[in-house]
Subunit: 198 residues, 2 copies
DNA sequence: CCTACCGATCGGTAGG
DNA sequence: CCTACCGATCGGTAGG
């Protein structure tokens, strides 16, 4: 997880301390969910009292939204980078899938894995999350638009199916058994349907 | 949601009252999740105080597990019934997918939609849920085993991909826009890969 | 089925 | 960054 550090500051003070706290919070949210992670949990992991965190953040809600946005920022970067290495449409799609899966399946990526359980989050937070996620998913629109799909496949549904497939992978993949690339390859094979060549 | 009524009793007393409470609780759990639904919420929806519910149930945990198991019991029945109407392997699979999707996408089915967020549930409950779900998913093993899949598709991964696809549909399908059958048809098209005919 | 309460926990704040 | 606390809410119980 890359987190911006606005202020110029000595190591382990100011912005650096804040960044460390954000990373700790991200790990906890990813593992235990929004409601399952208390401010006291975060404080304990950071070696301070829960109340002391409010020197660095405004509220639990704001913290979560900030982490979510930073996670999607980084995911977009990595996916764009991976796709740009490929020219052929299916290869581009598979590279993007592999990049997203690597993020979703890495237990230490601190990046995304919890970003799907929108229901356990307050309504105001949910609105912000969904808006950002919708923008993120737009990045897959061109990737899918360039595929030579047979006409009986609806591209909008196809894109949603692919994205939900990628996002739900963490729910069933047993860590260590299958690599993100293995899963990405199988997903690519299932989702590959050329209009001409079978 | 079908809930067993063990005792013979007059309408709206004993078992009937209990069943009504279970259905109310199932609806709330489905909409708000486990942690997002308090016993007081359930009591309010049932027209009683939260504490009064403990005359009918032992604990929130036990209530949730009971609802989960009843939901999977009914889902298994409906899926088996739908698949049995078809002979051809792909048709059987599509029928099973449509049956499961109808359950997952019906906001009033009181049946399953919340059964995926295992992370917000206590560990002891989670164990029971996962065990039951694994047994449920076994029902799809034969359906997949009978498909004439090309050898480069791993049947175990394929089955997991299909199930997670079906289970995550409720997260993105906007109710009313697409029918469960439409989604099932598109999923069937994406997942259909014959070994011989393209 | 109710009132009244328990111990625990939550997000957050005051005041230093 | 701490101590000490707030008001709210939680699952659950006692006693009727």
């Amino acid at each position: 997880m890359m987190i911006r550090d606005d202020r110029t500051s000595e190591p382990e003070t100011g912005g650096a301390r804040r960044r460390a706290i954000l990373e700790i919070a991200a790990r906890l949210f990813a593992r235990k969910g929004y409601r399952g992670t208390s401010m006291r949990d975060i404080g304990e992991a950071a070696g301070v009292q829960g109340g002391s965190l409010y020197h660095h953040i405004r509220s639990k809600d704001a913290l979560f939204v900030e982490l979510h946005h930073a996670a999607l920022d980084e995911a977009e970067r990595r996916i764009a980078q991976a796709a740009s290495q490929q020219l052929e449409p299916w290869a581009r799609l598979e590279a993007a899938c592999a990049a997203l899966l690597e993020i979703q399946l890495d237990p230490d990526s601190l990046t995304m894995p919890m970003m799907n359980d929108f229901r356990e989050v307050p309504a105001t937070v949910r609105t912000a999350l969904i808006e950002r996620r919708d923008r993120f998913e737009t990045r897959f629109r061109d990737l899918v638009a360039n595929l030579p799909l047979p006409p009986e496949l609806d591209r909008s549904i196809y894109r949603n199916l692919l994205l939900s497939q990628l996002n739900s992978a963490a729910d069933w993949v047993r860590p260590g058994r299958l690599s993100p690339r293995d899963i990405a390859e199988q997903i690519a094979r299932v989702f590959r349907h050329d209009i001409s060549t079978g």
